[in-house]
């Protein structure tokens, strides 16, 4: 097993002082209290004795977590969706029995208690696990102890565990780490620790350079290292989005995204790559969010919005079902493409959604809505494909085009060498090509979650409603019958008139 620990010092820390205080021995590495971020990555190779039936059941699975209040950073942030998610590619059909099997395996082997609610997405099945953050942190500590052995984990802002053909890759990231650490060697575990600072002179939005030391425990080796890499996940500078709800309380709220800063395409890959006939933008703006079953999106309503295109809506999209009637799906996932050109005047976007009827209870239900992800998705393959399709140009033009293709190809290759990223199995990242660069627009600093109040009937009213309804129906029926009978007696006291009445109904009798 490999265990890689990375510390990224923040810009307030004196890196040279930290490096001078690091104590490396044959058995341990002591790191002084640093302020910055920390990431632990464990690579557990596949062994049948360790994983049992996992390979038979799963083609792959991925568990991701992001603390809703996490404020990330450009180097270690994976921009997972807020909350705890399980993404699955089972080998078997995902029927009730298989879901129970998967559930019991994850509980037994990982201590993860999953619900049996999944939604089908283009990349597999996803399940949102509704566990409080306190319990998630406890669970993460237990997973860390199980695989890494000793060591303090601290608060985890992001987590991922991806199981594939080669084994299990687990990552724990804390964006705000500020305590001393001691890392010990462990038999059978190759442990490496890196302590780095960001090189501001060599770093930009699109390229990151870090400089520091790598320590290989066991070998007691220390190596000066500088890394320069390009991440597929980048942060749009001087730009943020403020998310809120309008028309609340009410059954038909709207999600409001208020943009601050620049809404133009990211500069590095900005502009369009001209083809013969079309001017196709390489970068497009997207919004993705996961919502619980208490609310729903109407895809037919969304198509009327001028500023958005509905790319995908997965999960619970039944327009009529009350919240409690859906026992199979945890909620819904939506991916929208936003046209920033239509937002120039207001710099805001409102997207309608609706509340489902809530379970009768205590007059209202509070639904927690986590924030979504707003990002530019830039597909590096597009200009390459567009350039390759051009024909009938001069040698000079062909040379220039080839240079551009090579430039983008270099960018594509660079993405796969980022040391802090991997190919996501599930979630919004998996809906894009591997050659996609994501420029994330940060959520406003004060934002965490939103709360929606959904009115509900009072459960204890049932008996009163039941008997009042019954009494009204009986009363109403009796009254109508009384009127009918009373009318019959007053108008036709003599029953012999009945036959005469039928015979005189000349207008309404059809010919024999």
């Amino acid at each position: 097993m490999d265990h890689r620990i990375t510390f990224i010092l923040d810009n307030k820390t004196d890196a040279s002082e930290v490096f001078s205080k690091v104590k490396l021995t044959a058995k341990s590495l002591e790191i002084p209290a640093v302020t910055g971020s920390r990431q632990n990555v464990l690579r557990v190779p596949y062994e049948a004795s360790l994983f049992g039936d996992w390979a038979a059941v799963f083609q792959g699975f991925e568990i991701t977590y992001r603390y809703p209040e996490a404020v990330g950073n450009e180097i270690l942030d994976s921009y997972n969706s807020a909350g705890l998610f399980l993404y699955l590619r089972p080998r078997l059909q995902l029927l009730d029995e298989e879901i129970r099997t998967i559930g019991s395996m994850l509980l037994q082997d990982l201590g993860l208690e999953t619900e049996t609610k999944f939604i089908a997405t283009p990349s597999g099945f996803s399940s949102k696990i509704n566990v409080g953050d306190v319990h998630v942190q406890q669970w993460l500590s237990s997973v860390f102890s199980r695989f890494a052995g000793e060591g303090e984990l601290g608060h985890v802002d992001e987590f991922s565990a991806a199981f594939g053909s080669t084994g299990l890759n687990i990552s724990f990231t804390s964006f705000d780490h500020a305590q001393p650490d001691t890392v010990y060697t462990k038999s059978g575990v190759k442990t490496e620790v890196g302590v780095f600072e960001r090189e501001p002179r060599l770093s930009s939005v699109d390229s990151i350079a870090i400089n520091g030391f790598r320590y290989a425990l066991g070998d007691a080796q220390e190596k000066r290292t500088m890394l320069q890499f390009q991440r597929p996940h980048r942060l749009v500078p001087v730009s943020e989005v403020h998310t809120s709800l309008v028309n609340v309380p009410g059954l038909h709220p709207k999600l409001r995204l208020q943009f601050e800063g620049d809404l133009r395409e990211p500069m590095k890959l900005a502009g369009s790559f001209e083809t013969n006939s079309t001017k196709e933008p390489m970068c497009e703006l997207f919004y993705h969010v996961n919502y619980p079953n208490d609310v729903y999106w109407d895809r037919y309503e969304l198509k009327w919005l001028q500023a958005v295109d509905l790319i995908g809506l997965w999960g619970s999209d039944n327009l009529e079902q009350p919240q409690y009637a859906n026992t199979l799906e945890w909620g819904s996932e939506i991916l929208l493409r936003v046209d920033p050109g239509r937002l120039v005047e207001t710099q805001s976007l409102e997207v309608p959604f609706h509340s489902r009827y809530a379970l009768p209870g205590n007059s209202s239900d509070i639904v927690e809505l986590l924030l979504g992800e707003l990002f530019w998705g830039c597909d590096l393959k597009k200009p390459v494909q567009a350039a390759e399709s051009l024909a009938g140009t001069t040698p000079i033009e062909r040379e220039a085009r080839q240079a551009k293709i090579d430039q983008f190809q270099v960018e594509v290759d660079a993405l796969s060498h980022s040391p802090f990223d991997y190919t996501a199995l599930g979630g919004y990242k998996s809906y894009f090509e591997p050659e996609t660069v994501f420029y994330h627009v940060a959520n406003a600093a004060s934002q965490q979650t939103m709360q929606l109040e959904v009115p509900a009937a009072i459960r204890t009213d049932f008996n009163a409603i039941r008997y009042a309804t019954l009494a009204s129906v009986l009363l109403g029926t009796a009254y109508v019958v009384k009127c009918v009978l009373g009318r019959s007696q007053s108008r036709n006291p003599d029953r012999k008139n009945r036959k005469k009445t039928a015979e005189t109904r000349g207008r309404e009798t059809t010919k024999n």
Binding site: L251, P322, P360, D461, V480
Partner: protein, 385 residues
């Protein structure tokens, strides 16, 4: 007071022009304003018809709970003009008005004008793309043919009406009892025609779309739990029962027994026994059916509104009594709408108030039924008068 004579051709022309004006405004509003004129249901129908055009099932469109025939009828919306369906509904609307004029005679033409041909509510419904006029023209066409001694044609149309929406089934007993003898050749021909029409349409649609046709067109309405608030008295009861938190036994059946008992048994027998007018009875049956229904939306009012001129021809209600009942009907709706607004758009938990409003609306309807029964004039009395 002498009622002015209104030549039918001018009345129909005025109705047509009004509908053209509303329709044209609707096109303008849809093109320029955020709030659309076109009914949401029209988009449901046309989305379903697009699937039909592509050779697929109309039920791929969520919330399409109608016969596939409707989606098939609107296929030209995607070939010729998107508003084609609205034109169809407007034409049906006008034909409904013409039939009413013919059924009620000259003296009641003003009533027909107010109730149907020049009624802005009716005009808005068809020009917005609601399909209710398709049903009304078929129902009234059936009545019109019946009165002209054409039981087969009447039966075929009534079978079509039942295929479109189940409730016209309640008219069968009344039409059969309007004969001097229940077992008669015209009744047999009528019954057979209803059966042939309904069954053949059902078989054809089932052959094309299978079980989902039955599920979405009919069965869904029996077991629905999408109880989004509506005028019905049963709404809150269904909400609680559907949640599964309470034990429910008779609650699920409570709506059907009085509803069908009154509309399909009691009122037809009252019609037969007292020599009542058929149009009056059909109106009362429909009004009662809607009153006791598990779901009541504004569109359902059209089901009996199209029969109102027939009732008004055969009642001794005074104008003041008519105004009273109209006020009661409108006011009770208004109270419900107030709390409906508070729930939908202000998110206030006003379920108790909404239930009480539904109760008031229900009792108001019952009061109206009682008054209309008491003031209905039998045919023999009309003849003498």
């Amino acid at each position: 007071m002498k009622v002015p004579h209104i030549p039918i051709k001018w009345l129909m022309l005025a109705s047509l022009l009004l509908r053209i004006a509303f329709f044209a405004f609707g096109l303008y509003q849809d093109a320029t304003m955020e709030v659309k004129y076109t009914d949401i249901d029209y988009y449901v129908f046309t989305d379903a018809s697009k699937y039909v055009l592509e050779g697929k099932s109309p039920y791929l469109r969520e919330t399409y709970r109608y016969t596939p025939l409707l989606a098939q009828l609107l296929v030209p919306c995607h070939i010729w003009w998107f508003s084609f369906g609205k034109l169809v509904f407007v034409v049906c609307d006008l034909i409904t008005g013409w039939i009413l004029c013919d059924l009620t005679g000259e003296s009641k033409r003003a009533v027909v004008s107010i109730c149907w041909l020049l009624n802005p509510m009716v005009i808005t419904i068809s020009t917005r793309g609601s399909s209710e006029s398709l049903l009304t023209v078929v129902v009234l066409g059936s009545i019109w043919l019946w009165k002209r001694g054409r039981p087969i044609g009447s039966g075929l149309l009534l079978g079509l009406a039942i295929h479109l929406k189940i409730y016209p089934l309640i008219y069968v007993p009344t039409l059969l009892l309007s004969q001097s003898r229940l077992v008669s050749w015209p009744n047999f021909r009528f019954s057979a025609s209803v059966g042939v029409s309904f069954v053949s349409l059902g078989v054809a649609m089932y052959w094309m779309y299978g079980w989902e046709f039955l599920e979405h067109s009919y069965l869904y309405h029996w077991g629905r739990i999408d109880h989004r608030h509506n005028f019905s008295l049963y709404n809150q009861l269904m909400y609680h029962v559907s949640s599964g938190q309470v034990q429910a036994s008779w609650e699920k059946l409570i709506s059907f027994v009085p509803q069908l008992g009154l509309s399909m048994v009691v009122l037809p027998l009252w019609f037969w026994y007292n020599g009542m007018d058929m149009g009056t009875t059909l109106f009362l049956q429909t009004f009662t059916f809607v009153t006791f229904n598990k779901v009541i939306t504004s569109q359902y009012f059209i089901w009996y509104l199209c029969l109102l001129p027939l009732l008004l021809e055969n009642t001794d209600l005074t104008k003041w009594q008519g105004v009273q009942m109209t006020v009661v009907w409108v006011l009770s709706q208004g109270i419900w709408l107030l709390f409906g607004y508070k729930l939908e758009f202000q998110g206030l938990p006003v379920f108790r108030e909404l239930f009480l409003s539904s109760l008031v609306f229900f009792l108001a309807q019952i009061y109206i039924i009682g008054q209309l029964v008491k003031h209905a004039i039998p045919v023999q009395h009309l003849k003498k008068e």
